[in-house]
Symmetry: C2
Subunit: 329 residues, 2 copies
């Protein structure tokens, strides 16, 4: 199944089922008021949503309409929890060199994960308001999962069974604020402004073979101001989503609607490029002794599209512009 | 005004207005379905809630009933955001010695704050399920605020105007997991299980002079298994709540229902004792060369009550037992 949330006069928007080819949509509000409501009552609403989805794909859904990604909020405009890992060790190792930080203890055996803000996610075409161009504005292309409830102490296998939906994420970062926040030990906060999501969230079965071993084996195509920046594949993730969820649930249960991110998608093969600027910069330092790529400026755009072997984009596209935040009242 | 959330068959519980002396309560569901709903529509519901509160205090509210803290969930059983500072520098400096970590950069001029999990808060009498006694189970007595929406870049003064309610918090910690998570730079995660709240949340005016300069100037009385542990005063907070909220909002707007915590209440005067075990342990190391107090065991209880000059407890009491978490299915 594929879902999106259309913006409405309510903060959690309006749930729609989206056709497999992303061309059509149909309101699902009679089955679940919002996507969060659907995830919380998944076992009760799943069959009805599937029937609606099948009807839409067959051209038989009443009152369907053309699907417009520009009308979308994030699939979950807000939720109870967002936790983001750094599960591509290639990225993590490069970032250690970029930030000149101590090696992360047990990096290859224990996932690292930060708790992010889940109160205000951005939609796929929303402007990205930020206060200051000098803060090192960077994108981070990722995959993620939306879970049902997860009991404390769940194994990775049991945790992976709680994956309800997959998402595609741009975890915006302000690189100049990161190193100081890391040194405090309290972790990322100001360096992580609101996170953005691709318009469509999908059940894992939609990916067929490309959902394998708890990983999204799709190329994530990233363009910055229209130019190729990278197309790393999600299959190189060093921890599965089951392992990441289990890590998050080690000392507490997780509520339905929890979103767990992969961290920046990154491949050892340099030809795949990068899914964030900081990674390209550290490669430039390695190759040339200095970074040659600057961070983003107001007015810059970044687009991200995961594509399968046929070139189809199951999550749709994130395409956003960075803008100066308005002065507060 | 004073509010509580009674447990119900809905995850966000049932909003009640509580009398000033905490003896009576009355349902407020006709004005706001939940406390989160009330905070999100504050300007619309405030007058009606105040009329109900005044009537309850005058003994004129219909259908009022005896207020039972044991029937309470956390005032917000879950919300969109929980961020906790370390705003008592006396505590922070002692913890640096306890964990033998590097001094936090700019500790006296920039607040430190971690993003916590807001998906599953515990009520004031709930058991506290944790997986393993050997993880260094500790309590942390704190104060906090619940905000309305806060624009990105708000000044401390403007941010403080967005304080809607005050809360009393026990920010449970697993001390054996903290140092490794601090070293990763990604911050606290597994070392911060679900946070607990006192039964009653209050508007700042309820404290009179004890809400001053963005600080809660009450003694926080902490008892561990019935024995005195400390009674530090919240007035020694080195940053105001306005400053803490502004810190959180520097690079993003905050949604209504955001909870911001003070960090462990701590006073320079040793006679005030401590509001967490880790702090007592480091004082023991300073005085005796070794810690003499162990962390909590399953079956242990901790109670926390903020009291004013008259001995009244405006937030009620947190009184919880630590238990072994059930094995997951």
């Amino acid at each position: 199944m594929k879902f999106a949330t259309l913006k409405s006069d309510r903060p959690d928007g309006r749930l729609v089922v989206v056709s497999r080819d992303l061309s059509r949509a149909v309101d699902a509000g009679h089955l679940a008021a919002t996507l969060l409501d659907a995830v919380e009552r998944w076992d009760d609403v799943q069959a009805g949503l599937l029937a609606l989805y099948d009807g839409l794909n067959a051209g038989a859904a009443e009152n369907s309409f053309a699907f417009d990604p520009a009308a979308c909020a994030a699939p979950l405009p807000r939720t109870w929890q967002w936790a983001d890992a750094s599960a591509f060790l290639n990225h993590g190792r490069l970032m250690e060199r970029a930030f000149n930080t101590e090696p992360i203890p047990d990096f290859e055996t224990i996932p690292v994960m930060y708790q992010g803000a889940s109160d205000d996610f951005l939609g796929p075409r929303d402007d990205v308001p930020l206060p200051d161009e000098s803060l090192g504005i960077d994108f981070e292309g990722e995959f993620g999962v939306i879970t049902g409830t997860v009991p404390m102490g769940a194994t990775a296998a049991a945790a992976q069974e709680r994956v309800r939906l997959l998402v595609q994420v741009n975890d915006w970062s302000l690189r100049k604020l990161g190193p100081r926040e890391m040194k405090t030990g309290f972790g990322f906060f100001q360096c992580k402004p609101s996170t953005s999501f691709a318009p469509v969230t999908i059940t894992p079965d939609e990916l067929g073979e490309a959902w394998h071993d708890g990983r999204v084996k799709l190329d994530l195509h990233v363009q910055w101001n229209g130019a190729w920046f990278g197309n790393p594949n999600g299959g190189e993730m060093n921890y599965s989503f089951g392992q990441l969820i289990a890590h998050a649930a080690r000392t507490r249960r997780l509520s339905a609607g929890t979103v767990i991110g992969s961290g920046t998608v990154s491949n050892e093969n340099r030809a795949a490029g990068s899914a964030c600027i900081a990674e390209r910069r550290v490669i430039e330092i390695i190759d040339h002794g200095e970074p040659r790529t600057e961070f983003m400026r107001f007015g810059d755009r970044v687009s991200m599209t995961a594509r399968d072997a046929h070139g189809d984009a199951p999550f749709g596209t994130i395409d956003q512009q960075v803008v100066r935040a308005p002065a507060p009242d």
